[in-house]
């Protein structure tokens, strides 16, 4: 299994992924209210919190699927800033940044008209300019990696939800992203099917992938992540190691939320 290279010099305090003062406002309502977050290379951060807290919106701001009202995102050596003082970012800049960010959606969003293999190959061919043969070869390796070697020629409609999500993970990995974003990847799945997806994510984390995971899976947040961030009403109310955040939270809203989801 391949390990993810840690970029030179990022082992230190320098952030590898940096979101600075992200704001997403809809009229007067601030869905994301001045959220900043730094990730070191190889770090796994889980974002938890009640629904409607702006977790997914924040995540989608990181690759500009949602255009932030203001703020800046830096990934590796690429930076895109938006807000009143900045010009609207060009499509080229956005595409360049997105190329380094893999995203896994709650609803998989596999392309239904393409086989599993072609789902993974298409972006490689169009974005990285790989040849079809080269792309397919890489896709097969990735399918094997997520345990779906024999599903290469199946259409998404012939795959279970868990299989579809694993294919989606392979599709995102195919572009060799610097960071992977997971937007509630198991929410649309039955618990036992969700396990197989979580297992793949655990492995990824173990291999040193930098990951931001919006999730309701408390066990995953506790066991796999290096840091847990709690968001409430569009703002970060807690940010620390899983042990501290989940067993000894300082914020009242965090305690309230955790007691509700953990049943204590």
């Amino acid at each position: 299994m391949d390990k993810y290279d840690t970029p030179q010099g990022s082992a230190g305090p320098a952030a590898f992924v940096r979101a600075a003062n992200i704001v997403k406002a809809y009229g007067d309502h601030r869905a994301v209210d001045d959220v900043s977050m730094d990730l070191k290379a190889g770090e796994v951060v889980s974002i938890i919190g009640p629904s409607g807290a702006g977790k997914s919106t924040f995540l989608r701001c990181l690759n500009f699927l949602e255009m932030p009202t203001a703020g800046a995102v830096t990934i590796g050596d690429r930076s895109v800033a938006v807000g009143p003082d900045h010009a609207t970012p060009s499509r080229k800049d956005l595409a360049a940044l997105r190329r380094n960010v893999g995203m896994v959606f709650q609803s998989f969003n596999l392309f239904p008209h393409l086989t599993a293999l072609r789902n993974i190959s298409l972006p490689q061919e169009r974005v990285l300019g790989r040849s079809r043969q080269e792309a397919d070869e890489r896709s097969r390796a990735l399918l094997a990696r997520v345990g779906l070697k024999d599903k290469a020629d199946s259409y998404p409609s012939r795959c279970s939800g868990g299989q579809q999500q694993r294919i989606a993970i392979a599709r995102a990995l195919a572009l060799d992203p610097a960071v992977m974003l997971f937007d509630e990847p198991t929410s649309a799945l039955d618990p036992e099917v969700g396990m197989e997806v979580l297992a793949v994510m655990r492995e990824l984390a173990g291999d040193g992938m930098t990951m931001v995971v919006v999730t309701h899976e408390m066990a995953f947040a506790r066991d796999v992540s290096d840091r847990v961030v709690v968001m409430v009403d569009g703002a970060v109310v807690e940010d620390g190691s899983p042990e501290v955040v989940m067993s000894d939270p300082t914020n009242a809203r965090t305690r309230q939320f955790l007691s509700a989801v953990l049943g204590r």
């Binding site: 997105r98 995203m103 959606f105 969003n109 239904p112 008209h113 298409l122 169009r126 974005v127």
Partner: protein, 213 residues
């Protein structure tokens, strides 16, 4: 004379009708795709022109559109044969109706598809070409086929601008033999003989295409 004996006499008209249908769809559908894209254009002028063309194409009776082209253009010094006029009017109308169908199908592709492609760094053009269009095309095939069947039926309208299609041939035969009932029933049979199997084919295709999605 029995009505079946008129059928061979109407065959030439059928050929003209099929040619008119084929030409106007061959030109109309691609034009419809262009109009569908333009109605969402960021350039206001293009959007207005596209919406205008679609609304006129759908808002006027095809009969009036036919007259407009065939009898209207000479007023500004342009003359076209009945066939060219008919193709022009039919193409316009087909483009307008298919633009609506195609637009609806493009919109019907879930937002997540676009997001997934964009998130992977694909350009807008590639996203449209490789992700949105293939899925929309699948949705659009049955309604566009239905449109095609309808357009074949519409060729009967070209009678009013003296195009020698089925109705024109039937009318002449009826006048000569003074036997309108049989002649027009034969004409009706001819239309049905194309329309019914074609409609059957559409439902067959519809069933097959819906299997994958």
């Amino acid at each position: 004379m029995k009505w079946t004996e008129y059928l061979p006499e109407l065959a030439s008209g059928l050929g003209v009708a099929l040619r008119l249908t084929g030409l106007s769809l061959l030109l109309g559908f691609p034009l419809g795709l262009v109009l569908a894209k333009l109605t969402d254009s960021r350039v206001r002028a293009l959007r207005l022109v596209a919406v205008g063309l679609v609304e006129i194409g759908r808002g006027l009776p095809l009969l009036v559109l036919l007259y407009l082209v065939y009898q209207g253009l000479p007023q500004v010094g342009l003359t076209a044969t009945a066939m060219v006029s008919a193709v022009a009017a039919f193409t316009w109308s087909a483009a307008a109706y298919s633009a609506e169908v195609i637009r609806a199908c493009l919109v019907a592709v879930p937002v997540g598809q676009r997001e997934a492609a964009i998130a992977a760094g694909m350009s807008d053009r590639d996203t449209f070409r490789f992700v949105i269009l293939p899925q929309a095309a699948r949705l659009a095939v049955p309604p566009l086929m239905n449109l095609a069947v309808q357009w074949f039926q519409f060729t009967s309208l070209a009678y009013v601008i003296t195009l020698p299609e089925i109705m024109q041939a039937a009318y002449l035969l009826g006048t000569v033999n003074f036997d309108y009932l049989s002649v027009f029933l034969a004409a009706g049979f001819l239309y049905a003989a194309v329309t019914i199997p074609a409609s059957g084919l559409v439902s067959l295709v519809e069933k097959r295409l819906s299997r994958h999605l």
